[in-house]
């Protein structure tokens, strides 16, 4: 296996749900994820950003094997996960979920929650598992006393540490973090992010980091993909996307970051607040009804994700036009 092999590769992944509206009305398709191709090389962190309902979490569920893609393929370490068994898949990819209050079973002790993956995979004797759980708890910064505690006795940050310990105990190739800090207090968010960054460099983890907090993504991710209505609209190295976003939606997202200065008020993203109905997406570019740069072509033809300038890719006719104007042939 070469080092060039991406740990996670998505090939034109589509997820359609059919939404029923009662027994007699015909079902309508809902495109949650509409053809996403991404890859994450070993040791890198791909930040996935976008507003609520854009398909980020559905994408995460497909990578975890909790949902099957309608079309396309998800490959982890070069192997299509559709062909992997339940246990094999679990060894490759593990999740850290958003809400540490619902991701830990309230009736189990911390030790049995963190040790569950080992028990399921039948690894080691009970005593060996106990030592590995203790090591894992120490690694995520919990004290051995916490092992016998129940989730209700821990704070939100401590619970999220438990969730991280559970995800890492099988030593997975890929970690899926689905908004791991958005349910936490701001002060605790920083602790969890530092822990994740620390583990990242220490264990050489590859991860997919989903968030709607751009500052968080900027801190952790090596590359960023911006999603809108089930599609990736821009993808590139973090520094480049953060500084020179090409897609108007990415720029809107960047402009939406709140500033600590109350006099500035709420930032104006120039995007309006109307999120399109995913049951009836607009024709052409799905973003055109909200786009400040919209022109005729956007209403007819859906743009494709391609490189216009620099090292990133964007799906935008305006970006293509501007790039062509800047560099005369």
């Amino acid at each position: 296996m070469s080092d060039q092999q991406p740990i996670l590769e998505l090939r034109n992944v589509v997820k359609r749900y059919s939404v029923g509206r009662g027994m007699f009305a015909p079902k309508r398709p809902l495109m949650a994820v509409g053809g996403v191709s991404l890859s994450v090389p070993r040791g890198q962190v791909l930040g996935l950003v976008g507003e609520s309902g854009c398909g980020k979490s559905t994408l995460a569920k497909m990578v975890l094997g909790l949902e099957t893609p309608t079309e396309g393929e998800v490959l982890i370490d070069g192997r299509p996960i559709a062909q992997l068994g339940r246990l094999e898949r679990a060894r490759l990819v593990q999740p850290v979920f958003q809400d540490p209050y619902s991701s830990l079973n309230p009736r189990k002790t911390i030790a049995s929650i963190v040790g569950l993956p080992l028990a399921v995979h039948g690894e080691g004797s009970a005593a060996e598992r106990e030592t590995r759980v203790a090591e894992m708890l120490a690694l995520v910064g919990l004290s051995p006393r916490h092992a016998a505690a129940y989730p209700s006795q821990l704070s939100g940050g401590q619970r999220q540490r438990v969730a991280i310990a559970r995800a890492l105990i099988l030593k997975p190739q890929l970690l899926i973090c689905d908004e791991p800090t958005s349910a936490l207090d701001v002060s605790v968010q920083a602790q969890i992010l530092n822990l994740l960054m620390d583990l990242q460099s220490r264990l050489g983890l590859t991860s997919l980091f989903i968030s709607h907090n751009l500052a968080v993504v900027q801190m952790l991710a090596t590359r960023v993909a911006v999603m809108y209505l089930g599609r990736v609209v821009e993808e590139g190295p973090t520094a480049e996307v953060m500084v020179r976003a090409q897609h108007p939606y990415s720029r809107g997202l960047l402009a939406s970051v709140l500033t600590p200065d109350p006099r500035l008020g709420l930032p104006d993203t120039r995007l309006g607040s109307v999120f399109p109905d995913p049951l009836a997406p607009p024709p052409g570019c799905a973003f055109h009804p909200r786009c400040p740069l919209v022109f005729d072509r956007c209403k007819v033809e859906a743009p494709r994700l391609r490189n216009h300038q620099g090292a990133s890719r964007a799906a935008c006719h305006a970006a293509e036009r501007d790039a062509a104007a800047m560099i005369p042939a």
């Binding site: 990819v93 979920f97 991701s103 079973n105 004290s143 821990l154 401590q158 099988l170």
Partner: protein, 295 residues
């Protein structure tokens, strides 16, 4: 990091405090414990053979009803066939508890399996189970029980089977909705991601969180079964004489209740106390195990 309580000692003590602070639970547990002990050790406790008829000693009242007529050999008097009433009440507890427990087990297993399956798998399974629940709810329990017992003949086994096959609906409804809520929680998704098999998730992650609801429904259904057995026996379609069922004793007493009302009062009171104790115990256990669910 240091704000958590050391897990075992204080937690247990807290739980003990919650149990002792719940007076309803303590009273109910004591009453139920006494009735259960009484039922188990009936042959050693009962002063007389509950079936032995002494026709010379018919309808002797207990001392607290009529001190002059009372006979010290019969603490709670005798019925109209001269059988010792206390012994019959003690043996009657056996029948009530047996029917209550067995019915609860049969209906609990059926209802929980159906409800959890419907709630967890959803879709077609849910449609089928929901249809079964609706069908079951459209049948009046007493009427179906009467019809079946009339055809199959009344006996302890038939009563348990009929009630067990009729009283699972509440289990199914409650377990279904509770499971639906749990299924969408992230710890179920986490268990799936970790590689847990579906049975393992159902038993290891879902079921432990259903226990508080299960206890409440089970206690309610057990009380319900005991009441229904009494009702069926009262109508002559449940447990058959000469077995000392409390319901049957009420039925036998109704002929003489005009002049000797205590004959009907005692078994009626026994049924009332047992049912009350079971319901209070269920509520108490719910409060202690899941304080967050207290309303």
């Amino acid at each position: 990091m240091s704000d958590i309580t050391a897990p075992t000692g204080p937690k247990l003590r807290k739980k003990r405090g919650r149990i002792l602070g719940n007076s309803g639970l303590i009273v109910a547990a004591t009453v139920l414990g006494l009735i259960t002990l009484m039922a188990i050790f009936a042959p050693f406790i009962a002063p007389h053979d509950p079936y032995a008829q002494t026709l010379d000693d018919r309808l002797i009242p207990p001392a607290f009803i009529d001190a002059e007529m009372a006979d010290p050999r019969y603490l709670l008097g005798t019925d109209n066939l001269g059988r010792d009433y206390l012994s019959r009440l003690i043996y009657g507890a056996r029948i009530s508890l047996l029917i209550g427990l067995l019915t609860m087990l049969v209906s609990g297993v059926i209802g929980t399996v159906l409800g959890v399956a419907a709630g967890y798998f959803g879709g077609r399974v849910d449609t089928v189970v929901s249809f079964l629940i609706t069908t079951r709810l459209s049948l009046p329990v007493v009427m179906v029980a009467l019809a079946v017992v009339a055809v199959a003949g009344g006996s302890l086994q038939v009563v348990v089977l009929v009630l067990g096959l009729l009283l699972w609906d509440r289990f199914a409804v409650v377990m279904r909705s509770a499971t639906m809520q749990l299924r969408n929680l992230e710890y179920v998704a986490a268990a799936q991601s970790v590689g847990c098999s579906t049975p393992r998730i159902l038993v290891g992650e879902i079921l432990p969180n259903l226990i508080p609801a299960l206890v409440v429904v089970a206690s309610y259904e057990m009380a319900q079964a005991i009441l229904l057995e009494a009702a069926l026996s009262f109508l002559g379609l449940g447990v058959q004489p000469p077995l000392p069922s409390w319901g049957l004793m009420v039925a036998e007493a109704k002929e003489v209740m005009l002049f000797d009302p205590w004959v009907i009062l005692l078994p009626g009171l026994a049924i009332c106390v047992l049912v009350l104790a079971i319901n209070m115990l269920g509520d108490g256990i719910r409060d202690v195990t899941a304080p967050e669910g207290r309303s």
